[in-house]
């Protein structure tokens, strides 16, 4: 039976193949390194935004799998460069001969599997960011006032720093702050009539105000920041509530963070796609080189024409034999039944 996808490789094309493989392997190593850096960066960004992402959001799995895939691609690239360099030199090839087989299997199964998995995650996971961010930001805003509750005491500082750094206010807009009690009851005067009225008029007993924290203020505004009584057009002179844009940051933190993280994920996805293509080409080339050199008996300087192939001939036949033998062992055999199939024909030498 003929080998799968054979390719004749006379000496000159063999050398060209090895040289081209060396270049592509270094390109693969570079792509793997860049993927490592990209996924590391995404991991660092996610760890900083951990408070604002719901714990149930699976997005954090993407940079971790991409990190492993990048490391595997880097290793494959370096090994491929070493192997293709050695295949040009008769003295260096014998130690690589033994390693090349397991290396190809590991590269295809391990590296290829990780890359396919991370590509799938890069396509599917960013969709879960929307609800994850909404839940996380809503929880952080609800805990803004809990600066003395263990476990939530950093929510105020982190949310203020987020709004200051990313130039955003609230989840979808500054009005989100009107629906949350962000002033702790510890700092509310129980004797103040206004405070008592507000709390009593609210169904859940929350102290809600039409004001925002200082971190929502926009430094580009020409007037000093107006933070409270934002819905009352008469509270501040010369203030037009229909145009609050310059006073506070107009965009919500949800949109800003979503765009930021999705951008990082799409960059990572394109890096992974490039790495996947390079790895496929490098592994295919290494397989052809390996089988061609084995055809010559592992002698590099041989002038003979060799044939490279992907899978040896007769593989289907041998797989069928193995399957039948396994089936015969499972069936309770009454006696020694002679094998029904003829013994396998001569196969071409295989590594």
């Amino acid at each position: 039976m003929a080998p799968v996808l054979p390719l004749a490789l006379p000496p000159r094309p063999r050398v060209r193949l090895a040289q081209g493989l060396w270049l592509l392997s270094w390109a693969l190593a570079l792509a793997g390194g860049l993927t490592l850096l990209c996924s590391g960066h995404l991991l660092v960004q996610l760890s900083r935004l951990r408070t604002f992402l719901a714990p149930s959001c699976p997005f954090a799995a993407l940079p971790q799998v991409a990190l492993a895939a990048g490391a595997a691609a880097l290793g494959t690239g370096l090994a491929g460069a070493g192997a293709s360099r050695a295949s040009l030199d008769a003295a260096q090839y014998p130690p690589w001969r033994r390693v090349l087989g397991p290396l190809l299997v590991a590269g295809t199964a391990g590296g290829g599997g990780l890359l396919v998995l991370s590509l799938g995650l890069a396509a599917a996971l960013p969709g879960s960011l929307d609800s994850g961010l909404e839940e996380g930001l809503g929880a952080a805003m609800a805990h803004y006032k809990d600066t003395e509750v263990p476990g939530h005491c950093h929510a105020k500082r982190l949310l203020d720093e987020l709004q200051l750094r990313h130039h955003c206010c609230g989840c979808r807009g500054f009005k989100d702050w009107f629906g949350v009690q962000w002033v702790s009851s510890r700092y509310l005067d129980p004797n103040d009539q206004d405070v008592v009225d507000r709390i009593q008029s609210n169904v859940e007993g929350l102290y809600l105000i039409d004001g925002v924290p200082f971190s929502c203020c926009n430094p580009h505004s020409p007037r000093p920041c107006l933070q409270d009584q934002l819905s009352d057009p008469h509270a501040h002179p010369l203030f037009d509530p229909r145009q609050p844009n310059l006073n506070l940051w107009p965009q919500g933190c949800h949109g800003v963070l979503l765009g930021h993280l999705q951008g990082l994920a799409s960059t990572l996805g394109s890096m992974l796609a490039v790495t996947f293509l390079l790895q496929t080409v490098v592994l295919l080339g290494l397989r052809y080189l390996q089988t061609a050199l084995e055809g010559l008996g592992g002698v590099i300087d041989g002038e003979g024409d060799a044939q490279g192939y992907l899978l040896p001939g007769g593989l289907r036949h041998r797989l069928k034999m193995a399957w039948l033998q396994g089936g015969a062992a499972r069936r309770p055999a009454p006696g020694e039944a002679p094998p029904e199939e003829a013994p396998p024909t001569e196969d071409p030498p295989e590594a």
Binding site: R157, E161, W182, V183, L188, F214, P222, P224
Partner: protein, 346 residues
């Protein structure tokens, strides 16, 4: 008697040349790094020139840029010379230029050392410039509709947020200036009218600060107005409250930032200077070792290298003699020129 004589055989000369070639190219990289550091410092000073009254001195970054570029060029040439030193034919064309070149190297290293010392010592002028610039900046905070000053509010706000500071020396600086523009004051309100009347210059001064002074680490929402009035806020004591606003003044914050920047740059430049001096000393030894090869036909022979041919006082005397001779030779020529036309006239 030569200064610091060392014997060299062929192998040692070759090793010296190779080591020097590597050291010189590393020095080129180091010179590029110093150049880059100077550029970075210049950009940083430019970025904050608004709060430095546009009068900050660019001496330090300019010195670093110049010294770095010079060091780069000198060491690239030295690397080339060391590469050619192993081949007598190629080295012959460099021979006449080596003495002036080494003198130029010495001057270049002096310049680099000066630049490093500038980095470490010239901080006082920056403090004065910052104090003046910030005072002006705080005064122009409210002039957001005056051309030429309309950006000052944004600059001061972003500065206070980024450097975690408030005011010039502290947040009380904001109590002494009117930072709320008259455009946003309701002159029909009694409170506003009282405040303006009670002030000699007719300014509206409040015991409040802009929002950019707020400290996110505070457990309570930021208190910006009526800071000295304890009864205006529930459970508030202005004398013990430390987390509400940033306590550091922006002058101290900016000064410490630039100080640490210049300190690290100065230390790095000193290290670069040390490696440069080592490279030039090695080149001097190589030069004298190759010069003192007694038999040019036999490249394997031993030779001696030294720093100075005679001891330091003798070299200094010889240098002064050559200067005097230079002056005298001009005089002789002048007298000769006078004596020439004089007999002709006479």
């Amino acid at each position: 008697m030569a200064l610091l004589k060392v014997r060299f055989d062929q192998k040692r000369r070759v090793k010296l040349a190779q080591g020097l070639w590597l050291l010189n190219w590393l020095s080129v990289l180091a010179g590029t790094a110093v150049f880059g550091l100077g550029l970075f410092l210049k950009v940083e000073l430019r970025r904050r020139s608004d709060v430095m009254d546009n009068a900050e001195s660019h001496l330090v970054p300019n010195a670093l840029i110049g010294a770095g570029a010079l060091s780069c060029a000198l060491h690239a040439l030295a690397g080339r010379i060391c590469y050619d030193a192993l081949d007598p034919a190629r080295f012959a064309r460099w021979r006449p230029w080596l003495r002036p070149y080494l003198a130029a190297c010495a001057l270049g290293h002096a310049g680099l050392l000066l630049a490093a010392l500038c980095c470490l010592l010239l901080r006082g002028s920056l403090e004065a410039t910052l104090a003046r610039g910030l005072r002006q900046g705080l005064r122009f905070y409210r002039d957001t509709d005056t051309p030429g000053r309309c950006f000052m509010k944004k600059t001061i706000d972003l500065l206070q947020i980024e450097f975690r500071c408030c005011g010039n020396n502290g947040f009380r600086d904001w109590f002494e200036i009117q930072w709320i523009s008259n455009r946003y004051l309701d002159f029909s309100s009694k409170e506003v009218k009282d405040r303006i009347k009670s002030n000699v210059d007719g300014r509206y001064l409040v015991d409040g600060v802009p929002f950019s002074c707020c400290n996110p680490n505070s457990p309570r929402p930021c208190i910006q107005y009526q800071l000295t009035n304890n009864s205006a806020h529930y459970s508030y004591d202005h004398q013990t409250e430390e987390l509400n606003l940033w306590l550091q003044g922006c002058r101290a914050a900016l000064l410490s930032y630039y100080s640490s920047l210049m300190n690290s740059m100065g230390a790095l430049t000193l290290l670069v200077w040390l490696s440069d001096v080592t490279a030039t000393t090695g080149l001097r030894y190589l030069h004298t070792a190759l010069e003192s090869v007694s038999n040019p036909e036999d490249p394997e022979c031993e030779s001696e290298g030294w720093l100075l041919e005679k001891s330091v006082p003798e070299t200094w005397k010889a240098f002064l003699e050559s200067l005097k001779r230079l002056g005298k030779s001009n005089q002789v020529e002048a007298e000769g020129a006078d004596a020439g036309p004089a007999p002709e006239a006479g």
